[in-house]
């Protein structure tokens, strides 16, 4: 067990190091600052004091960059190893395929979570300086649910990268993430408005696709609504773990059947 943990931690450390070595985080952080800093000094019609628009744009950028980082990190876990054939010495250590898969997944998740933590910390400082409200409970909840989002999206992309080409996996997962965040909540009403096969397709998406909109509480955070009930929050995190578990089980099955 101890050896298994050591193997998993070594594998995951590699993924985290790769994110920081590629300087993706620094680039997106700099980009966010370039966009947000001039906006923070806007005084529309000569009236200052508005702050929610900056919070909203900051949260939008955090979500956008977390999707980019989450997808980017997890889609690169296996294909480069297959291409450069470095997967052979890795499996010859000996490390089981399941251990490699889980270790790499954990690494991608840790890398994404660490990036998002930096963003949330910067957001907390921005809100604290502008509005004088430091680390509200709803901010913690938003960050926690964002981690839930990353748990699902990294597992889904990892599965995609094992069953299709990296570019196809990236496109499909990006479409799923954006589509579900935008329309996930309205799928039942959209299905009800349809007739024929369209209705059943939408219902199938509603029941099967990952409900990533569960993790998006930007509205509560920006407009200072109260927290989500903690039992609901726990249920949503349990959903994330179960969905990610299912994706990883399928990924493990695909990895085991893969001819190397």
């Amino acid at each position: 067990m101890k050896q298994w943990l050591l193997q998993v931690s070594a594998l995951s450390k590699l993924s985290v190091l790769e994110l920081y070595r590629r300087k993706d985080l620094a680039v997106v952080f700099l980009l966010a600052m370039i966009i947000l800093l001039p906006l923070a000094f806007l005084a529309p019609f000569g009236v200052s004091g508005a702050s929610r628009y900056v919070s909203e744009l900051a949260m939008l950028l955090i979500w956008l960059f977390s999707i980019i980082i989450g997808l980017g990190v997890s889609v690169r876990l296996f294909p480069p190893e297959f291409e450069s054939r470095t997967i052979y010495p890795l499996l010859a250590k000996p490390v089981g395929r399941g251990t490699v898969l889980f270790g790499k997944y954990l690494g991608a998740l840790s890398a994404s979570v660490s990036a998002v933590s930096v963003f949330y910390l910067a957001y907390a400082v921005l809100v604290g300086v502008r509005q004088g409200e430091w680390f509200a409970p709803v901010l913690f909840q938003a960050a926690l649910l964002h981690v839930g989002f990353l748990i699902v999206i990294t597992a889904l992309t990892l599965l995609g990268s094992l069953v299709m080409t990296p570019s196809a996996a990236l496109t499909l997962c990006a479409l799923t993430a954006v589509g579900m965040l935008a329309f996930g909540q309205r799928l039942p009403s959209l299905a009800a408005a349809q007739t024929g096969p369209g209705r059943w397709v939408l219902l199938a998406i509603h029941w099967i696709a990952p409900h990533l909109e569960f993790f998006d509480v930007r509205q509560r955070l920006v407009h200072a609504w109260p927290c989500v009930e903690w039992r609901v929050c726990t249920a949503v995190l349990a959903y994330a773990v179960c969905y990610a578990g299912l994706c990883l089980a399928l990924a493990g099955w695909a990895f085991r059947r893969k001819r190397l």
Binding site: F45, V47, Q219
Partner: protein
Amino acid sequence: MTQPFQHALVAAGAFITVAGGHLVPHLFPGRMPQVAGENVVAMLLGDARQELSFALLEKADDYFHGGARHAECEHGLSGTTERLPESCSANGHAHEHSHHSDSGTALSGRSFDIWTWLNRRIHVQEHRHAEGEDARELLPWLWAACRTSPRNIQAYESSAYVLGRMLGQPREAQALLEEGVRLNPESAALEFSLGELALHALRDPARAEQAFVAARNTCRPVEGEAGEGDRFLLGRILFYLGYLAHQRGDRNRAENYLTEAEDEVPEHVGTRDLRRLLNRQHENERKEP
């Protein structure tokens, strides 16, 4: 030898490009795809900026509702011709309409849908109205709506409303409406808003009358249903003009506006109120010795 020749060639090319750029508008007047003096947003977006401007106005409306989108809510900044009533800002508490649980009503009514149940508990299902200093939060989106498309009359009206009435800054609202009038000289609605602002917030009847007269001159309702909105506006303009004439003791002018209102919009509530106002004056004059 070659290098100086290349430099001269580059300089000549640059000169021809600049001269051509200046010459082309004079050679093809009125046939250029872009209008001189238009800003970058106008050139880049074209007619799409009107749509973008409406989207930004809707965003401001969402902010008015505490971040929630409620198209059916009767209190709003956009989507209705009659803007925010006074009762709305007094009603600042969070409340819920019967249509709030629209996501999945048709399906979840039959069976329990866990995903819809979770969504309803995660995403805010009620809304509240921005009031007082909270209205500042609407300004960035309203500002962006005005700047994206200066043709968006509703953006100017809503921005002036928020500045003048909700934030108590009528001077800024006046400046904005005057800018709107300058950019949309054909808009009677903006002149009317300027008149209302001058009368109610700035207590300047002379400026108000000037704006209402300008609004009267630009308001030309067309026949049929298409002109319904303009006819309603005309009724309000004529009421204010009659009222202001009555206030400064110009009875003939007030009677003239009433006659005009009875000809143009006889059923309008403003016409009825103006008639009542002038009749009351007649009665008072008769009673007095």
